[in-house]
């Protein structure tokens, strides 16, 4: 048996670190932070509790960045950000947010992020492991048009699940009226927060940016609600996998284009060929033709036919005997809500059609998997 112990002294701590320890969090290293992978009840129960009621996640390791236009006009910040992402940021109305990606000159992805329009500036949430590089990237390319402010004194938590709205309503009466991807400053229990109706579990819910000095008070009050349980990174991963959502560094990275990653929906027509602001982002010469010509490979959902999970890195084969892999699993594990193993990975388009059969090598055995549509568990967003 191999067990994991994490006590590396160099790890950073989020403002909720003491609360995690007090609530029995089992801590692991993640994105340079000492983070709870689970609490006493375990990954399975935390996962199912989130789908049934509400789970509370500390995601303070993620980067929060304000982009303030030097001109004072938020459209100028949006136009500047469009130099780095293939999304239509100008069209993000005040009080709304949108999913985006930073691209590289090869058409690959440097990170994925959320961009909210807060009226006079843009508010970005980026991945923890990428945040230093993202900040440098923004400073290099946008400093002419924007002041770039890393909001290091703010924590970020996610409240996710069908009870999230009724729970948050007790501290923030405006919360239930917000629609999916609505975002902006809101008071939560008398604390000035940024609230968005979004998340990364496939459930209805909110992400709440809270000043670090107040986060323990706000989170403790939310956890006092009997519908809310703290949930660790383990269930966060199984929830997002069931929801068919990409994990940066695993399902998407510097070598995957938005088309290969099946993220075409996230690139608005205005930035594609023929659109009002077509191109003008790194790798546009690679990405835009793929909208018409397709890409050679595609991210797909995979359902193992047996009970054995097929995990990240497992090579995929066209049949049970062939020697050369045609793709690989990029995320895989067990879906507690499905009570079945699930995976996602990349296959050549010739093998990516739903219903097709491929084989993974797991510990020297060829296990069959069926290509399937995602999400594995339907989304429950309040649009």
């Amino acid at each position: 048996m191999v067990t994991h112990v994490s006590d590396a002294p160099t790890l950073q701590k989020t403002p909720l670190h003491a609360l995690h320890l007090a609530r029995g969090g089992k801590m692991v290293a993640f994105a340079g932070y000492d983070m709870p992978v689970q609490y006493a009840s375990g990954v399975l129960k935390e996962h199912l509790h989130t789908r049934a009621k509400a789970g509370l996640f500390d995601v303070s390791h993620m980067g929060q960045i304000a982009l303030r236009p030097k001109s004072g006009d938020v459209t100028d910040a949006a136009l500047a950000l469009e130099r780095l992402v293939p999304q239509d940021i100008v069209a993000v109305a005040p009080g709304r947010q949108r999913y985006a990606q930073f691209t590289n000159p090869a058409g690959g992805l440097l990170d994925d992020l959320m961009v909210a329009n807060f009226g006079d500036h843009l508010f970005l949430v980026v991945n923890g492991a990428c945040k230093a590089a993202d900040e440098a990237h923004l400073r290099e390319h946008l400093s002419d048009a924007c002041a770039i402010e890393v909001l290091a004194d703010r924590a970020l938590v996610a409240l996710q699940g069908p009870k999230a709205a009724s729970v948050l309503a007790k501290k923030c009466p405006e919360a239930p009226a917000m629609k999916f991807m609505e975002a902006g400053p809101r008071q939560v229990g008398g604390v000035a927060c940024f609230v968005s109706r979004s998340g990364y579990t496939g459930e209805d819910g909110y992400e709440i940016s809270i000043p670090a000095a107040w986060v323990e008070d706000v989170v403790s009050a939310l956890l006092d609600d009997p519908d809310v349980a703290p949930v660790g990174l383990g269930a966060r991963d199984s929830l997002r996998l069931e929801a068919g959502l990409c994990l940066y560094g695993h399902d998407i990275d510097a070598t995957t284009t938005p088309i290969e990653a099946a993220l075409e929906w996230s690139v608005q027509k205005s930035r594609r060929n023929g659109g009002a602001r077509a191109g003008g982002f790194p790798g546009a010469n690679v990405i835009l033709p793929q909208f018409e010509q397709g890409a050679a490979r595609r991210r797909v959902g995979l359902r193992p036919e047996g009970r054995a999970p097929v995990r990240e890195g497992a090579p995929l084969f066209a049949d049970a005997a062939s020697a050369d892999p045609i793709g690989a699993v990029t995320s895989g594990g067990f879906g507690p809500s499905l009570n079945a193993p699930i995976s996602m990975g990349y296959l050549p388009v010739s093998h990516a059609a739903t219903g097709g059969l491929v084989f993974a090598d797991v510990r020297g055995q060829r296990l069959p998997l069926r290509v399937c549509a995602m999400p594995f568990v339907p989304h429950n967003y309040k649009r």
Partner: protein
């Protein structure tokens, strides 16, 4: 009947020339919810320290190594239908496989219960 333990958190119940093997309660508590157990093949010959079985939680797969050399006599098929037995009864109903002990000297370096408790304390 003797119960012995390994530093890799396996237990062995020794009855005659048979060793019944599973993972310890401490090991299952570290792994978390077990969702799949891959069993060795009955009749296969295992060499000490060879990967023999795999216990998978939601998050990760962990190898169970053969703590001694021997032939696999029987495997616990019940774990196929109910892998969570590893969490509820790791040192009882969730035995994983039985080996015919090839060389009793393999048992010499293993710990008794008191030594294992000290090891995990």
């Amino acid at each position: 009947m003797t119960v012995l333990y390994t530093t890799d958190h396996e237990w062995l119940r020794i009855e005659g020339d048979t060793a019944t093997i599973g993972i310890t309660g401490y090991a299952q508590s570290q792994l978390g919810d077990v969702v799949f157990v891959e069993l060795p093949k009955v009749g296969s010959q295992l060499t000490k320290a060879q990967a023999a079985a795999v216990v998978e939680s939601v998050k990760a797969a962990s190898d169970v190594y053969a703590p001694i050399t021997g032939e696999v006599l029987e495997v616990n098929e019940a774990l196929g239908a109910e892998p969570a037995l590893v969490n509820s009864d790791a040192e009882g109903k969730a035995w994983i496989f039985k080996l015919r002990i090839a060389d009793r000297s393999d048992l010499e370096g293993l710990m008794d219960e008191a030594a294992y408790k000290a090891h995990t304390a």
